[in-house]
């Protein structure tokens, strides 16, 4: 019997959801992977997917909605059980064990918490300070990757199991911890699906191992 089709979920609460769907479809096409990409908003949908993407947007909004819908513990458990997850910008904040704001400081924001990092929100400043910069990411090959940083966070502390995969101006802007990738920038806006392909590879490995 053939396995059911591969399904990637994109958390559909708020933010640049459709852009992550498009980048994932592009990655599937480039890798000739047969699969579907779905929006997930309900806990039962989170149980079904083979991999989950947490998009950019406002992390306070996404965590407020996740708390109302009781989906935080479901995501936490699936990620702890090995489901691959990619969090971009707000999505990385959602994954972090602790977040604080550069100006406002500690907030009461709830996070999923599986990624062993402390994150500084709005680390590079406000929208006027948002920037594009070429990044060197060894895992993605030699040619630089376009980092799109929009009111971006940065990692201020990383635990011992966390591998740093990109830095900008001395700050940690992308990390990997086993089945979790977090980026402070928006790979879904780069017009380059290499980061989503990397994630898709993790999902394929995870399915093979199951």
């Amino acid at each position: 019997m053939t396995k059911k089709q591969l399904t990637i979920g994109v958390l559909g609460f708020q933010g640049d959801i459709e852009e992550n769907v498009a980048a994932t479809r592009q990655a599937m096409e480039e890798m000739s992977v047969n699969g579907s990409v779905e929006l997930v908003r309900y806990p039962e949908e989170m149980e079904r997917v083979d991999g989950l993407i947490l998009p950019g947007g406002e992390s306070t909004v996404q965590s407020a909605l996740a708390a109302i819908q009781r989906s935080l513990p479901v995501m936490k458990k699936r990620i702890a059980d090995g489901m691959p997850v990619l969090g971009t910008c707000a999505g990385m904040i959602m994954l972090s064990k602790r977040a604080y704001d550069r100006v406002v400081g500690e907030t009461r924001q709830k996070t999923i918490g599986n990624l062993d990092i402390v994150i500084e929100r709005n680390a590079f400043g406000r929208q006027n300070d948002s920037f594009e910069a070429d990044l060197k990411i060894d895992a993605l090959g030699k040619s630089p990757f376009k980092g799109v940083f929009i009111r971006a966070p940065a990692v201020s502390e990383a635990g011992k199991d966390v591998e740093v995969i990109a830095r900008h101006a001395g700050r940690i802007v992308a990390v990997r911890q086993k089945n979790i990738i977090g980026t402070a920038f928006h790979p879904e806006l780069a017009g380059d699906a290499r980061m989503h392909r990397q994630f898709l590879k993790m999902v394929l490995d995870y399915r093979r191992a199951k």
Binding site: Q14, E58, V61, V103, N128, F131
Partner: protein, 321 residues
């Protein structure tokens, strides 16, 4: 690329490159990208720190800072201008979400002040008294992204060509009546359907006729027709008062909503704010929209104004330019 870069001004003054740091700011991608991060969210009008904190706690995706809520602008009469800088700064220090602020239509220097202050997005808004009846701000000169109101496709595309990174329906602000916003989004949708069908037929002459009618370039009409939607994020605004109002506009194809007087002119603002956020995300799930409606009390809603008998129709400001 999922963000359209159509109509970007070559060599725009708002784009700032720092060769030493290897960075560039104020690009069309960053400006429109900021708007894309707001999608499926609710931007709430606020006039002070307390309201901004209630909005953030409730799940607002950003706050829009005004001196008076649109309903009070109508009651007060006189000239409505940008908010006090002191209030904007206090709010910036108190909340972590983006801060938007309004400037008058055509008032380049009010906008400059907001940019220097650090507003994340500037709304060149018909809620304030226009400073220039003939022209809007040339927004490509700014590093900060702008949002503009529009009641039809021509207005929307003209604003995008001037550099707007986001569009919202004009609606009729401060009335508590969603009908005008509904009219405007339906108008834009119908006009896009028309040019989309010409595009699919390969009829360039009809697209050119549309460009002439809208007083915009062929390129932006063709791109809009190809995409089958506006090339920037499009929010609903004007008169949204209940969770069901928000769900209705999301179902009509809006990317998110602005709530002006509807929250802080009600007697249950914190509950109402949370309920509107919930209904915006789950707009297509009637059970959850009902749950959201149960969170609010109609007796506490903004009573609203009859849009037929208004002395001031804000939506008509700046429409011919």
């Amino acid at each position: 690329m999922t963000i359209s870069l159509v109509s970007s001004e070559p060599g725009a003054k708002g784009v700032k490159a720092d060769e030493q740091a290897g960075t560039v700011r104020g690009t069309t991608l960053l400006k429109r990208g900021f708007a894309h991060m707001q999608k499926h969210g609710v931007v709430m009008d606020v006039t002070n720190v307390e309201q901004a904190q209630i909005a953030e706690e409730a799940g607002a995706v950003a706050v829009m800072v005004l001196d008076k809520l649109p309903y009070d602008v109508r009651k007060a009469g006189g000239v409505a201008r940008t908010a006090s800088i002191k209030v904007i700064e206090e709010i910036m220090d108190a909340v972590t979400i983006p801060i938007m602020a309004k400037c008058r239509i055509g008032h380049t220097d009010e906008a400059r002040v907001l940019e220097i202050t650090g507003a994340d997005m500037i709304d060149e808004s018909e809620v304030l008294t226009p400073a220039d009846e003939e022209r809007h701000i040339w927004k490509w000169d700014f590093t900060t992204p702008f949002v503009n109101g529009a009641k039809n496709l021509g207005e929307a595309l003209r604003r995008i060509e001037e550099g707007a990174a986001m569009i919202r329906t004009k609606g009729e602000p401060g009335t508590g009546n969603v009908a005008e916003a509904v009219t405007h989004i339906r108008m834009v949708n119908n006009e896009i359907r028309r040019i989309k069908s010409h595009y699919q037929d390969g009829d360039k002459q009809e697209l050119m006729k549309a460009a002439r009618e809208y007083k915009v370039s062929f390129a932006i009409v063709e791109e809009t027709a190809r995409l089958g939607r506006l090339p920037v994020v499009n929010f609903a605004a004007g008169g949204i008062t209940t969770p069901a109002d928000a769900a209705f506009l999301m179902n009509l194809g809006c990317d998110g909503v602005f709530v002006g007087s509807g929250i802080f002119k009600s007697d249950d603002p914190a509950q109402r704010a949370r309920a509107v956020v919930l209904a915006t995300t789950f707009y297509d799930d009637a059970k959850i929209v009902r749950e959201a409606q149960k969170m609010v009390d109609e007796k506490k809603a903004l009573l609203g104004l009859d849009t037929k008998n208004l002395e001031l129709r804000m939506q008509e400001r700046g429409q011919s330019a």
